[in-house]
């Protein structure tokens, strides 16, 4: 993890601040930092999104490829997450430096998306038992300013919302199956991803917990609870991270907060995406011009 070093007095300051529900920038314990989102940022992908959460910057590109389904899920496609920690974010990521963090994030995403109701893999099926779409969701960490899990999941959900897959027509001619893939950019299908989860990370600071911890706050936490929450408030994945342990009652409190925040996070994200979609081609695209 990208760490900052703090003196004891600074840690005490942060700890008491969380207790008072007044964090370093005046936020309350359940507030997110400024969050910006943009979809369709990369032209060579089937769907893409970029999320900036204060100074955490994440870019996601989705590419769809045709492949054979795995034998235990013959009528389903697959979704693969790959996280790349760019050394642009911090020199520590150079070489294999970011590998552990990357597998942590991708494993959490796999788990959060690993239930049939969150993301229906049957919609990726082309010919049962033979051909299916495989979605490669590539995540690039451009800047790390804390709370990578949440930001990543938001970017992934936005990119999946933005993803469109070319329409495939299957023709059977004397037992020979023919696939015809449309190259018309408007002859595409969107994905159903309304119920995909967002990840909410709750960091235990002192006796309270906060959402969307900044790097300094992450430095003060011993234990974090990371959970995948759908818009209905169901929990799709749960994980404790860090070297500390948690009281069963505080786990309950944290889960309650996580569920509440997760619900509103999902809702706000979908509202923003719908708004962007409504603006259509008129929308001002910003891309990387900041």
């Amino acid at each position: 993890m990208v760490d900052v070093q703090l003196s004891d007095a600074e840690k005490v300051f942060i700890l008491h601040g969380v207790q008072d529900n007044c964090r370093e920038d005046g936020r309350g314990c359940e507030d997110y930092r400024h969050l910006e989102i943009e979809t369709s940022v990369m032209s060579n992908t089937n769907g893409s999104a970029r999320v900036r959460l204060a100074n955490t910057d994440i870019l996601v590109g989705v590419k769809a490829e045709l492949g054979t389904p795995s034998p235990e899920k013959l009528n389903k496609g697959r979704i693969e997450f790959f996280v790349d920690c760019s050394a642009n974010a911090t020199p520590e990521f150079e070489g294999r430096g970011g590998e552990d963090l990357a597998t942590d994030i991708s494993n959490m995403l796999y788990r959060a998306y690993d239930c049939p109701n969150c993301f229906d893999l049957q919609q990726l099926c082309v010919i049962p038992d033979q051909q299916c779409w495989i979605l490669y969701v590539d995540i690039l960490l451009l800047e790390c300013g804390g709370n990578l899990f949440d930001a990543t999941s938001l970017a992934v959900k936005a990119a999946l919302f933005n993803t469109s897959i070319p329409t495939v027509t299957v023709t059977k001619d004397e037992g020979v199956v023919d696939l015809e893939i449309s190259d018309d950019p408007y002859d595409v299908q969107r994905l159903d991803m309304k119920s995909s989860p967002c990840i909410v990370t709750l960091s235990k600071v002192g006796h309270s917990h906060v959402v969307d911890a900044s790097q300094k706050e992450e430095c003060c936490t011993l234990a974090r609870l990371i959970m995948g929450v759908t818009e209905k408030g169901t929990i799709t994945a749960l994980k404790k991270e860090g070297s500390g342990s948690l009281d069963p009652t505080s786990i309950e409190d944290m889960m309650e907060t996580g569920r509440r925040v997760g619900e509103s996070l999902n809702k706000c994200l979908m509202d923003a995406l719908a708004e962007e979609e409504r603006q259509g081609t008129k929308k001002k695209s910003l891309g990387f011009l900041r």
């Binding site: 070093q5 703090l6 003196s7 004891d8 007095a9 600074e10 005490v12 300051f13 008491h16 601040g17 207790q19 008072d20 007044c22 964090r23 370093e24 920038d25 005046g26 936020r27 309350g28 359940e30 507030d31 997110y32 930092r33 400024h34 969050l35 910006e36 989102i37 943009e38 970029r50 900036r52 204060a54 938001l154 959402v211 509440r260 925040v261 509103s264 996070l265 706000c268 994200l269 509202d271 923003a272 708004e275 962007e276 603006q279 929308k283 001002k284 695209s285 910003l286």
Partner: protein, 309 residues
């Protein structure tokens, strides 16, 4: 009736308790004004500053074929015959007498390594600190062993630049009671070129907090320091909880400092204070939003121009 009211109350608190604000990036209005014609003395590396041989070569320039070229992108500054180019974003180039904030990186033999945002790590010698219990104390071997006890890795200090080594590394000292270890508060890091050189860099702002504008671009914001009582070099730290009202002031100041830096405004006591006062129309939470930031800065800027400070 009462029951429904209660329910509504719970609902309202729930909505208030969690704030998530997802924006579309395209909706952002361009907050940065067009500054092309205004500043004429902007140069990029390789630009000829002057072909006149009567000038002296300063920082950020190089001489070739009797012409003076810029080696960094920034603003040309001239002091008599000396020409320098001051880059907008830079590591800190120390000068003797500067007030800096630093973070201890390493405890060595008779010295601490300190991060001051400079190119090389700075040095704080054991002989140039005030030790607890009086200024004129001899440094014993005991003190050498206790070094980690005084200042350990991660601790923050305020100090003055005492001298420069030949390789450009800084030697610091804290031999005045106003310098020393810092207690509770917040550190904000901005570009050193945005800090205006002033007589004093320690300010007790009337809004109820103290601020140290380090020349190295590190800004320290903390609760007001009581000058007579608490200047002990920081060895006795007050770790009592800070009142929420003070904490809000500190958070607001932090956001103001960052807003000033975001809009490339110079930082000094008046500009910080005016920004702070302009921000009072908003709640602390709101001051991190870009459009609010821009508004605050505009108001503060107008006031500064009006009063000519």
């Amino acid at each position: 009736m009462i029951i429904t009211h209660l329910n509504l109350g719970i609902l309202l608190t729930r909505i208030w308790r969690s704030m998530v604000d997802v924006r579309i990036a395209g909706a952002r209005s361009s907050t940065k004004p067009n500054v092309s014609a205004e500043i004429s003395n902007l140069v990029t590396p390789g630009d000829v500053i002057t072909a006149d041989t009567g000038f002296m070569r300063g920082h950020g320039t190089y001489m070739e074929d009797e012409k003076l070229y810029a080696s960094v992108a920034g603003v040309v500054e001239r002091v008599n015959k000396l020409i320098c180019v001051k880059p907008l974003k830079t590591r800190y180039n120390g000068e003797i007498g500067d007030v800096v904030i630093g973070r201890i990186l390493e405890v060595g033999t008779r010295r601490w390594k300190v991060d001051t945002h400079a190119k090389l790590d700075s040095v704080l010698m054991l002989s140039s600190v005030n030790l607890p219990g009086g200024e004129l104390r001899r440094r014993s071997e005991e003190d050498e062993k206790m070094m980690r006890h005084y200042l350990k890795e991660g601790d923050l200090i305020s100090a003055e630049v005492q001298s420069l080594f030949s390789d450009g590394a800084l030697s610091l000292h804290t031999r005045s009671l106003k310098y020393g270890k810092l207690s509770q508060g917040q550190l904000v890091s901005i570009s050193p070129s945005l800090i205006k050189r002033r007589k004093t860099h320690f300010h007790n702002l009337p809004c109820g907090a103290s601020i140290i504008l380090g020349n190295n671009g590190y800004v320290w914001i903390c609760p007001t320091i009581n000058e007579e009582v608490e200047q002990t070099g920081g060895y006795e730290q007050n770790l009592e909880p800070i009142q929420k009202s003070d904490r809000e002031v500190i958070a607001r100041l932090r956001n103001c400092v960052l807003a000033l830096a975001e809009h490339k405004m110079m930082l000094y006591d008046t500009s910080v204070l005016y920004t702070f006062e302009a921000s009072l129309r908003y709640s602390v939470k709101e001051t991190v939003k870009p459009e609010v930031m821009a508004d605050i800065i505009e108001v503060a800027q107008q006031r500064l121009e009006r009063e000519g400070t």
